[in-house]
């Protein structure tokens, strides 16, 4: 016990003597939360659009004014040639071209059927889909407004329609920050845990200090505990700091118990630290361990459901995501924070993380012996 206590003291001494450490602990979470939470949103505003109106009728003008009136679209320019208008695609001046054909109004009144063409710039597929959705929405509203107008003349009955209304539970305003911040906290804890642990041990290898440690009677479990506990504490502290910032700056709802958040996080951290430890056993320099940790991070985060929902992935990717600890922790964090889930709701996540932690820690402890 005395030895472990002393090793911990030495580790903390070294960690806080490292000049980069305090900024890492305090500045990174602030920047990540403030910038990412504000920047990562799936809303698109100021969609610039061009108009090619061959019809020049009151209907066509009304349709265009519906677009201009919406918050999402900004009128760029109007022309009478598709080629000419497409120039703006190349120069990035316009994201959408609305082409209204000749006889738009006439056809509509005569047959009740008319066509509008939407040309969307789609180098960013996600954005294109969103623009398409917004546009069809506006056209649908235009449609609903226009039907009674010409039907009135014919005194037909209004066709029966189902009115769909939405209610978004747990995030009524569909606020992206509410949704993103728990995810960013996950990202934060994962980065700090995995990178710092991996680099700390490879640093000992790089400096040659591990050689001197290995000739001492220090026991393997003492050494490993001494390496893991400091970063476990720092990461939990990091989470507390992040939650505080989230509450103060973004007023993120925390419906569930704070205690449960930390309980899940403390198990999850053993998985992350275990991965960091494992990386350090298979690498020789900080550079190598950094690169591998970075690679794992990218895969874990992109497949972790933080930025894109796991449900939208192909089924094979969902299978891979099942083995991604980030996905489980992220899910649990959102459930606890936004939905107020309790222990019985997330017990499966806890079992999974416990098994994962046991496997990865045993694996790295076993690997560690082979190197020393």
């Amino acid at each position: 016990m005395r030895t472990i206590r002393f090793i911990l003291r030495k580790e903390f001494l070294q960690i806080f003597r490292n000049k980069a450490m305090l900024p890492i602990i305090f500045i990174i979470p602030l920047i990540q939360l403030i910038i990412l939470a504000n920047a990562v949103t799936f809303e698109i505003k100021n969609i610039t659009f061009n108009v090619i109106d061959f019809d020049q009728s009151s209907y066509s003008r009304e349709l265009i004014s519906k677009f201009t009136a919406s918050n999402y679209f900004t009128f760029n320019r109007s022309s009478f040639s598709v080629e000419n208008s497409q120039e703006d695609f190349r120069t990035n001046d316009s994201k959408l071209i609305i082409v209204i054909p000749k006889n738009f109004e006439k056809d509509f009144i005569k047959t009740g059927n008319s066509k509008v063409q939407l040309l969307i710039r789609a180098e960013d597929g996600n954005a294109a889909v969103i623009i398409q959705n917004y546009s069809t929405n506006i056209i649908r509203q235009f449609n609903i407004g226009i039907i009674p107008e010409w039907q009135g003349a014919n005194t037909w009955k209004t066709p029966p329609m189902i009115d769909i209304t939405y209610s978004n539970w747990f995030n009524p305003q569909l606020n992206y920050k509410t949704y993103m911040v728990p995810g960013i906290l996950v990202l934060l804890v994962t980065t700090v845990g995995m990178f710092l642990t991996g680099m700390n041990i490879t640093r000992e290898k790089e400096m040659g200090t591990i050689e001197q440690i290995n000739v001492t009677p220090i026991k393997k479990y003492q050494f490993i505990i001494g390496k893991l506990i400091p970063f476990w504490i720092i990461s939990l502290f990091e989470l507390a700091f992040g939650l505080l910032v989230a509450k103060i700056i973004f007023d993120i709802p925390i419906l569930g118990s704070i205690f449960l958040i930390f309980f899940v996080a403390s198990i999850y951290l053993f998985v992350v630290l275990g991965i960091g430890l494992f990386i350090s056993t298979i690498t020789e320099t900080q550079q190598q361990s950094m690169f591998i940790a970075w690679f794992c991070m990218i895969v874990f985060l992109l497949m972790g459901g933080i930025f894109t929902p796991i449900e939208s992935m192909p089924s094979w990717a969902q299978t891979i995501a099942f083995f991604n600890p980030v996905a489980h922790f992220n899910k649990a964090m959102r459930m606890i924070m936004l939905k107020g889930s309790d222990l019985s709701d997330i017990h499966q996540t806890i079992y999974f993380l416990l098994i994962y932690a046991t496997v990865i820690l045993s694996l790295s402890v076993w690997r560690y012996r082979k190197v020393s």
């Binding site: 030895t3 002393f6 070294q14 003597r17 050689e211 001197q212 001492t216």
Partner: protein, 307 residues
């Protein structure tokens, strides 16, 4: 019973033989030196003895314990100083020492007597980070850390490499003191002149030991007569002597060239004549007793001829 007993150790890295059938014993209380050029296998051997590496073949007993099976017992009683400074650079002198004392389950106070003489020299800097110390200071700190648990055996891997001559002499004085306190020391060095300071030395080259004996015996076994030759232009003298038909070997050695003859006895007159003819009219020739360095040079050259 010896403190270290090594028999038939082999160790290879892929196709390179780092150690090829090494056997030797170290007696209690002696300073045993391993002398050899870089890459001779000194570090590999020491890493095996300090239980950091497992030999491919052969046995090694340190303090009566097998280096593979009883490595835990060895680690408690051996002090090791690696060739490269391997203490924590971001901890202070005092913190490093305290850390190593604690993980060996002791305290600085308990063994202060042993390190006192060395520690007082670095004590004024005890609040300084180890990384900011000078080379000689680092080495003293490393020695203190290796001694803090009062080891029976001290294994020092090239402790004087890259250290200035004054600090080197000081360091050897410290080793002599430790020996008097009953600590056995196993030391390696690439500097041949340090061999004379050991009780016994082993010459190691290409993973093989060439000769293991006391420095005196190694010198006594040397039968050739050595001539020290000097003139105004030493470099030209070296070139001319290399061309001389009776030259066995010629090596620069301080202010003289050490010359040995192919024949049993060198002919001084003939040599003087040869030098006069080649423009070295003011040359000086003396006979000189063989140095341990001469012996090693000779042994290493013999070995190369055999190979």
């Amino acid at each position: 019973m010896h403190i270290v007993e090594v028999s038939g150790i082999h160790k290879s890295y892929k196709s390179t033989k780092a150690l090829d059938d090494i056997s030797f014993d170290v007696n209690y209380g002696e300073i045993f030196g391993f002398i050899g050029p870089d890459g001779a296998g000194k570090t590999t051997l020491f890493r095996i003895l300090t239980t950091l590496l497992i030999p491919d073949k052969g046995n090694a007993l340190v303090l009566g314990n097998d280096v593979v099976k009883d490595y835990k017992k060895i680690r408690k009683r051996v002090g090791y100083m690696a060739g490269r400074f391997s203490l924590y650079q971001d901890l202070t002198v005092e913190e490093n020492l305290k850390f190593y004392a604690t993980i060996f389950g002791t305290t600085i106070e308990e063994n202060y007597d042993l390190i006192k003489e060395i520690y007082v020299q670095i004590e004024p800097f005890k609040k300084r980070r180890a990384g900011k110390l000078s080379g000689g200071m680092k080495q003293k700190l490393a020695l203190c850390c290796a001694l803090i648990h009062k080891p029976d055996l001290l294994i020092l891997d090239e402790p004087t490499t890259g250290v200035d001559p004054v600090s080197r002499n000081e360091f050897w004085d410290m080793l002599m003191n430790l020996k008097e306190q009953g600590i056995t020391i196993l030391v390696s060095t690439p500097y041949m002149n340090e061999a004379a300071l050991c009780d016994r030395v082993a010459l190691i080259q290409n993973g093989k030991t060439l000769s293991i004996d006391t420095p005196e015996n190694i010198i006594n076994r040397y039968t050739k007569i050595i001539l020290g030759v000097r003139s105004d232009n030493m470099y030209d003298l070296l070139l001319k002597l290399q061309k001389y038909k009776y030259t066995h070997s010629v090596q620069p050695f301080g202010e003289y060239l050490h010359y040995t003859d192919k024949r049993e006895k060198p002919n001084l007159e003939e040599l003087k004549d040869y030098l006069n003819k080649n423009g070295h009219t003011s040359s000086e020739i003396i006979t000189t007793p063989p140095d341990i360095e001469d012996c090693f040079m000779e042994l290493m050259e013999e070995k190369e001829h055999v190979n």
